[in-house]
Amino acid sequence: MQPVNEMNLEFPSRSVNEGFARTAVACFAAQLDPTIDELNDIKTAVSEAVTNSIVHAYPGKIGPIHIRARIFEDRSIEIVVKDKGIGIPDIEQAKKPLFTTGNEERSGMGFTIMDSFTDKLVVRSRPGYGTTVKMLKKMLPFAGLK
């Protein structure tokens, strides 16, 4: 399926960019005319993915985070959040609820939230090369077109 539109975004892994990233993706997703709930789901999932990269990808330094969002004719959006950080050695372990290597302000629920707020979640990582989180969310059909 060919995308109808695409946007790319890159920013440094500073926590102040979490709000910017989720709002920017939500603005782009607005082209699909989503409901407020759908828009909030997208914001929440993006916030989790970006926060993971900010907290874990570049220990003790700042590195780039890239987001690519593409929208399709079937009213779906694919969001790819990518970093070039240290990677995740054990993805299955990282995805487990409550598992965290972060500090007390982390809950270990990031992947659980991403998973339940989107329709599809794929996490790929290679230690030393980085992590890619791909999420797919399909908007419900317009009420009038059902």
Partner: protein, 101 residues
């Protein structure tokens, strides 16, 4: 995160305002914890009506307050949780641990 903390006879009331994400979570926890430590209230109510957005960082904040209140033998409740934040708590099962009004 804007916090308004009131100490009433019935206990402590904390009104949270703004977006609750990782960026502000640590500072939010620190301010709430020091307020609880200073007055050791019997009850603590977190009013979330002013939360425009919350991700899983909010879970850590709420569970942090829950634990802190247990340490001072008090109890806590969360009230006026907006729809989006409620969905985050539910997905994580926090509604089974913490008392939501």
């Amino acid at each position: 995160m804007n916090l308004k903390i009131y100490e009433k006879e019935a206990g402590m009331e904390i009104y949270m305002e703004g977006e609750l994400d990782h960026h502000g979570a640590k500072d939010t926890m620190r301010r709430i914890n020091s307020a609880i430590d200073a007055s050791m209230p019997q009850t603590c109510v977190l009013d979330m009506s002013g939360i425009g957005f919350m991700d899983s960082s909010g879970i850590a904040v709420v569970l942090g307050v829950y634990r802190r209140m247990e340490e001072v033998s008090g109890s806590m409740r969360v009230r006026n949780v907006p729809v989006q934040a409620k969905k985050v708590f539910k997905a994580a099962g926090v509604d089974r641990i913490v008392d939501f009004e």
